[in-house]
C-alpha cells in the first residue's frame, strides 16, 4: 500500500515522542489498543493549571505507519488547545489531514480514543467526572 506524503513525513519525523510524568496531577495519560491487534498508542497531555490549556503533549505508539502518524499529528494538534477543543477532535479530521485509506481508518479512531482517554485521566485525577464528547 502506498502511504501519503503526510503519513511518511510524520513517520520519518515524528513530533513529540516521549514520556511525561504520569504521576503528576497536571498530566493525563491515555493508553489504548492492544498488542494482539498490532496497535498500542500511549498519548499524554500536560495541562497548564492557570490557562486550562494543554501546554505539552507526548506520544509513543506500537503500530503501523498510519498509527504512528495519527498519534504524532494528534500531539501536534493538542498543544495549545483547551480541554473542550481537544475533546472535539474527530477521527475524520485525522483521516482527512493524513489522507488515510479506508483500511487505516481504525488508526485515526484509536488516536481519537487516546485523546479522550488522556483527557479523562486528567479529569479524574483532578476530581472531575469523565466526560463524553462535548
Amino acid at each position: 500500500m502506498a502511504y501519503s506524503e503526510k503519513v511518511i513525513d510524520h513517520y520519518s519525523n515524528p513530533r513529540n515522542i516521549g514520556t511525561l510524568d504520569k504521576s503528576s496531577s497536571k498530566v493525563g495519560t491515555g493508553l489504548v489498543g492492544a498488542p494482539e491487534c498490532g496497535d498500542v498508542m500511549r498519548l499524554q497531555i500536560e495541562v497548564d493549571e492557570t490557562t486550562g490549556k494543554i501546554s505539552d503533549a507526548k506520544f509513543k505508539t506500537f503500530g503501523c505507519g498510519s498509527a504512528i502518524a495519527s498519534s504524532s499529528l494528534a500531539t501536534e494538534w493538542l498543544k495549545g488547545k483547551s480541554i473542550e477543543d481537544a475533546m472535539n477532535i474527530d477521527n475524520m479530521d485525522i483521516v482527512e489531514e493524513l489522507a488515510l485509506p479506508p483500511v487505516k481508518i481504525h488508526c485515526s479512531v484509536l488516536a481519537e480514543d487516546a485523546i479522550k482517554a488522556a483527557i479523562n485521566d486528567y479529569r479524574v485525577k483532578n476530581g472531575l467526572p469523565p466526560i463524553e464528547k462535548l
Binding site: P35, H106, L110
Partner: protein, 404 residues
C-alpha cells in the same frame, strides 16, 4: 555499486535468470507454434521444445518426463491434485489430511472439497513448525485417500520430514501429495526417494517465469490418476486441457536445469549469507527466529523483533523489500496464521519480518540489510510504549488491554 532497494522477498517470487530468459526468447518470436499442431514444422518445433523442457524438469526431481503435467502455476497444480484426487478416488474414501500451516492454495482447496462432501483433518504443527508424526499416524483412517503436506513452508521455510510422512501415508493406503513450490530447485527433491505421488511446483520461485508450473503425477507404483478440472482439447494426457505456454515451459525447463547444475554451489553461498544475516539480526535484544532452525530451506529467515510492529517496521526498512506476518488493516487485524499456528503470541506474530535470499543476493546487500534493519528496530522501539514498559519491567500480560 549497491543498488537500492534490495530485493529480499524471494519467497514471493524470484527474478528471472538471464540464462532462462535467453532460452525463452526464440519461442516468443520465430518458434511461436502451438505445441499441439501436428501438421507443420511450427508445431513440431514447439512440441520438441516442450518435450525437452519436460525432460529438464523431470531430471530435477527424479521423475519420468511423462509424469509432468503443465499448469499455470502451483496454485492450479494444488487445485488439480486435491480436487482431482477427491473426485477420482471418491469411491475409495473421502478423508484428506493436511496441515494448518499449508499455503492457502491447499487450505482453501480443502475447504472447497469439504463442501463437496470430503472430510478434512487439519493437523496442528509443533512449536518449530514441524508435523508431529505420531499425530499424523493417529489421524490416518481406513478411508483416508490423500495426505497433503508441504515440502518447505513459504513463511518460515521449515522443511517437513517428507520421507517419514509419505511412509505413513502409504502404510495406510493413502496417496501422498506435497506442495513443493518453495523447495524444488532449492534443496534436493526426488519423488522416488521421498515417496511422493503428487507434487505441485512453480517456475517463478526458482528464477523462471511467472504463469507456469507443474503437477507431478506418479505413473508407476501406484499409477495415480486425477480427474481433470479443465475440460477441452485433452492436453497433458487428458489431465489439463489448454494450449501449452511454450515460452513459459521452455523457461521453466531451463530454470530446472540451472537449478540442478548449480544447486550445490548456490546453496553453499546462500546459506552462508542467510546465516550471517540471521546471526547478526538475532544479536538484537528480544529478537527471535520463527520455526525450526535446523530443518529449514537455505534461503529463508523469519525473525520477530518484539515490541515493534511488522508493518511499521517494513515502512522503516524501505531500502529493502521484505514481507511481514503482520496485517494491520481494518479488514483483518489478524497476523499471519502460520505464525499463530506455531503457538506464537499475537504480538510476536505482528512483529515478524521474512527475509528470502536468492542466488543473486550479494554480501554487500546483506551487510546493508543488517544495519538498515537494526537501525529501524531501534528507532521504532524508541517510540514504542511496549518497549518502554518492557524496559521498566512491566509484564504486558498484566495489563488489561482494550481490544479493538
Amino acid at each position: 555499486m549497491l543498488k537500492l532497494p534490495i530485493y529480499l522477498d524471494n519467497n514471493a517470487t524470484t527474478p528471472i535468470d538471464p540464462r532462462v530468459l535467453e532460452a525463452m526468447m526464440p519461442y516468443f518470436t520465430t518458434h511461436f507454434g502451438n505445441a499441439a499442431s501436428r501438421s507443420h514444422s511450427f508445431g513440431w518445433s514447439a512440441e520438441e521444445a516442450v518435450d525437452y523442457a519436460r525432460e529438464q524438469i523431470a531430471a530435477l526431481i527424479g521423475a519420468n518426463p511423462k509424469e509432468i503435467i503443465f499448469t499455470s502455476g502451483a496454485t492450479e497444480a494444488d487445485n488439480l491434485a486435491i480436487k482431482g484426487v477427491f473426485e477420482m478416488y471418491a469411491q475409495k474414501g473421502k478423508h484428506i489430511i493436511t496441515l494448518n500451516t499449508e499455503h492457502k492454495a491447499v487450505l482453501d482447496t480443502c475447504k472447497h472439497v469439504e463442501k463437496l462432501g470430503a472430510e478434512v483433518t487439519y493437523l496442528s504443527v509443533k512449536e518449530d513448525g514441524l508435523v508431529d508424526l505420531a499425530e499424523l499416524e493417529a489421524a490416518m483412517r481406513p478411508d483416508t485417500i490423500l495426505v497433503s503436506i508441504m515440502y518447505g513452508n513459504n513463511e518460515i521455510g521449515v522443511v517437513q520430514p517428507i520421507k517419514e510422512i509419505s511412509a505413513i501415508a502409504h502404510k495406510h493406503g493413502a496417496l501422498f501429495m506435497t506442495d513443493g513450490t518453495q523447495a524444488v530447485g532449492k534443496i534436493p527433491v526426488d519423488v522416488n526417494v521421498d515417496g511422493i505421488d503428487l507434487m505441485s511446483f512453480s517456475a517463478h520461485k526458482m528464477y523462471g517465469p511467472k504463469g507456469v508450473g507443474a503437477l507431478y503425477v506418479r505413473r508407476k507404483g501406484p499409477r495415480v490418476k486425477v480427474t481433470a478440472q479443465m475440460d477441452g482439447g485433452g492436453h497433458e494426457r487428458g489431465m489439463r486441457s489448454g494450449t501449452l505456454n511454450v515460452p513459459g515451459i521452455v523457461g521453466f525447463g531451463k530454470a530446472c536445469e540451472v537449478a540442478r547444475l548449480d544447486m550445490e554451489e548456490d546453496t553453499k553461498r546462500i546459506i552462508a549469507l542467510r546465516n550471517k544475516l540471521e546471526n547478526e539480526l538475532l544479536t538484537v535484544e528480544e529478537a527471535y527466529l520463527n520455526g525450526s532452525k535446523e530443518h529449514r530451506l537455505p534461503h529463508v529467515a523469519n525473525i520477530s523483533f518484539k515490541y515493534v510492529e511488522g508493518e511499521g517496521l517494513m515502512m522503516g526498512v524501505k531500502d529493502i523489500a521484505v514481507s511481514s506476518g503482520s496485517a494491520c488493516t481494518s479488514a483483518s487485524l489478524e497476523p499471519s496464521y502460520v505464525l499463530k499456528n506455531l503457538g506464537l503470541d499475537d504480538e510476536l506474530a505482528h512483529s515478524s519480518l521474512r527475509f528470502g535470499l536468492s542466488r543473486f543476493t550479494t554480501e554487500e546487500e546483506v551487510d546493508y540489510a543488517i544495519n538498515h534493519v537494526k537501525e529501524a528496530v531501534e528507532k521504532l522501539r524508541e517510540m514504542s510504549p511496549l518497549w518502554e514498559m518492557f524496559k521498566e519491567g512491566i509484564d504486558l500480560k498484566s495489563i488489561e488491554w482494550a481490544e479493538h
